[in-house]
């Protein structure tokens, strides 16, 4: 009896590995092998398309520490992430709360805010180049109408990055709004009712009831937002090519430039490893700081 049981367990084990095999083959080839390989490359002088590689040790990493452009690019990336994500999430949360109040025409509003998610980045980037055009773009026309000065936007090193941030808020808020809306629908409405009867105003209801109760989702949205924020590569590539004067050059674009334009795969791999290091570090940081403060309602 126990023998057949053991055999059944062994069979199940083999079958389970067989089920995992297709995924593992692709994960190994296109996710884990590249990471190991990029560590290996970063310790060498590797040129794109050149089979000969030379051992450099940690030279690519010391070069990175001395590379002023690297630090600038890192600063730009941090600026982009730390503005885009909080602004998008605040906008998304306010929109979601408004949608949750059984607003008439909700479906129309929801689609109006969500549709940018469906638009390919290349199309979005292009239309915003047009919208931001200094001489004939509608953004400047609108600024003139309300009496504000016209800006050079993507051609001005002070305004090019904020221009990308504004565009990203337009592009992604709708997605975060939907995720938060799903969480808001789970908050029992008698909580609001009780607070309202106690004379708690809307602002305090938001701060003391809504935000704590949707905090697991908020936390999730911050992580999703961070993962989405690399997509800024597409917009930098399409709209500014990192310019003017590297004011919009972000880490992902700098990796691309180094690897494909300067063909320096070794140094580009060191940069890519730095990206990986920052991403995992950031997610770890979010997990230990915000993750602990998260409130869970009922079971999860």
């Amino acid at each position: 009896m126990s023998k057949t049981f053991a055999r059944a367990r062994r069979n199940e084990m083999f079958l389970a590995y067989a089920f995992l095999l297709p995924s593992l083959v692709f994960l190994a080839t296109f996710t884990y092998w590249p990471i190991l390989r990029s560590i290996w490359f970063s310790l060498h002088d590797v040129m794109l398309g050149d089979p000969e590689i030379y051992w450099l040790g940690l030279e690519n990493y010391t070069r990175l520490l001395d590379d002023r452009l690297f630090w600038k690019v890192l600063g730009n990336t941090a600026f982009y992430t730390l503005t885009t994500i909080p602004i998008s999430i605040v906008v998304a949360l306010l929109l979601a709360v408004a949608m949750d109040s059984k607003l008439r025409g909700m479906a129309i509003y929801r689609s109006a805010f969500f549709y940018p998610v469906m638009i390919p980045s290349v199309a979005a980037g292009m239309v915003w180049v047009f919208l931001y055009a200094p001489s004939y773009g509608p953004v400047n026309e609108a600024l003139t109408t309300v009496g504000l000065p016209r800006l050079d936007w993507l051609y001005d090193s002070d305004w090019a990055m904020p221009a990308l941030v504004i565009m990203s808020v337009w592009k992604y808020s709708g997605y975060f709004m939907l995720i938060l809306l799903a969480a808001l629908k789970l908050v029992p409405s008698d909580l609001y009712e009780a607070a309202r009867l106690d004379g708690v105003n809307a602002w305090h209801r938001l701060i003391h009831i809504t935000i704590p109760l949707v905090s697991p989702t908020l936390y999730f949205v911050i992580i999703i937002g961070t993962l989405h924020s690399y997509q800024v590569f597409d917009y930098v590539y399409i709209m500014t090519q990192g310019g003017p004067a590297d004011s919009t050059n972000v880490l992902t674009f700098y990796i691309y430039q180094t690897g494909f334009q300067y063909q320096d795969i070794g140094y580009a791999s060191a940069l890519a490893n730095a990206l990986l290091f920052f991403v995992l570090g950031l997610i770890g940081l979010v997990a230990v700081t915000l993750g602990r403060k998260v409130h869970y309602l009922g079971e999860r």
């Binding site: 199940e12 084990m13 079958l15 389970a16 590995y17 089920f19 995992l20 297709p22 995924s23 692709f26 994960l27 080839t29 296109f30 996710t31 590249p34 990471i35 990029s38 408004a98 109040s101 008439r104 025409g105 509003y109 689609s111 805010f113 969500f114 469906m118 390919p120 980045s121 290349v122 199309a123 979005a124 292009m126 239309v127 180049v129 047009f130 919208l131 509608p138 026309e141 337009w170 709708g174 939907l178 995720i179 938060l180 809306l181 799903a182 989702t217 949205v221 999703i224 993962l227 690399y230 590569f233 590539y237 399409i238 992902t252 990796i255 795969i265 791999s269 890519a272 990206l275 991403v279």
Partner: protein
């Protein structure tokens, strides 16, 4: 409080009561301009695609096209092989989805319903993939594909995305919610794991599969960076790459034609979104919960 005001004023005065209107509908007063602002880039794309070159740069021309000029559409189609791009996009997105559905179904079933050594370790490996930005590995993946001789083929755009940690995770959560009585009953009837998976589990998780499919299609249909890197000839390019090239060739000189091209590229997904709005919204909504 709202009920008292309603009973006190059953018949409002003849003149329109602005303060009351604003108090009752203030949310719409805020939301309508905001929604219009969000919609304006899309409206701008459509309006510009119907203008002439002259109108675009003429500041006095106004917001609307003087008269509807549809000639930009045939003109876009004649400068770039959008038909080929469309077919490539369909093949690439469809193949990725088909591949993913097979790999994630099998893996998710193993993680949800089977016991085997190193289960947690393997599951962590799957989850980590979700966190790894493609930008940290695209260089080495490029080199790998070059060595495989796959550069500038449709496969180059497909193979890196066949395994999906995210999809596996999503589906595993759904599989776990299937009551174990159902699979036990099937087991007693003599079904093996594959039969149970096919006849019992898959029909029950259809909503999750649809949700995953929609997200996967939107992501890969719109993808720009990877197809840009691995393609360099017309016959393998996808729609977003084709549009990017058109923009480069025009360098902002021919906005109406470019916006006509943009309309053509964004419309397939936007049309599907309008038709299956509920499904799309639900799919993206529930990526967050659980």
């Amino acid at each position: 409080m709202t009920t008292t005001t309603q009973t006190e004023l059953p018949n409002s005065p003849k003149r329109f009561n602005w303060p009351r209107f604003l108090r009752d509908h203030w949310l719409h007063v805020v939301m309508i301009p905001l929604a219009a602002l969000w919609l304006s880039p899309m409206i701008w794309i459509l309006l510009t695609s119907l203008k002439t070159d002259v109108e675009v740069f003429d500041q006095s021309a106004g917001f609307l096209p003087e008269k509807l000029n549809f000639s930009n559409y045939p003109s876009t189609l004649s400068v770039a092989p959008f038909g080929t791009y469309l077919i490539n996009s369909i093949i690439v997105t469809g193949s990725i989805l088909a591949g993913q559905l097979v790999t994630i179904t099998l893996a998710a079933y193993a993680f949800a319903r089977m016991t085997f050594p190193f289960k947690n370790l393997l599951f962590t490996l799957f989850l980590l993939q979700v966190m790894f930005p493609i930008y940290a590995i695209f260089l080495t993946n490029f080199v790998t594909l070059q060595e495989m001789g796959l550069l500038n083929t449709l496969s180059a755009m497909i193979v890196p995305f066949i395994a999906s940690g995210y999809g596996t995770f999503m589906l595993r959560q759904s599989f776990r919610q299937v009551p174990s009585e159902l699979s036990d009953a099937a087991r007693l009837d003599g079904c093996n794991h594959l039969e149970i998976l096919w006849h019992v589990f898959l029909p029950l998780v259809k909503p999750t599969l649809i949700a995953f499919a929609i997200i996967s299609v939107v992501t890969h249909w719109n993808d720009y960076m990877w197809p840009l890197l691995v393609t360099n000839s017309e016959n393998v390019r996808t729609l977003p790459i084709g549009l990017g090239l058109l923009a480069k060739a025009d360098s902002g000189a021919d906005w109406p034609r470019l916006m006509a091209g943009t309309t053509l590229v964004v419309s397939p997904l936007l049309l599907l979104f309008m038709i299956f709005q509920r499904r799309f919204i639900d799919s993206f909504m529930h990526t967050g919960v659980k």
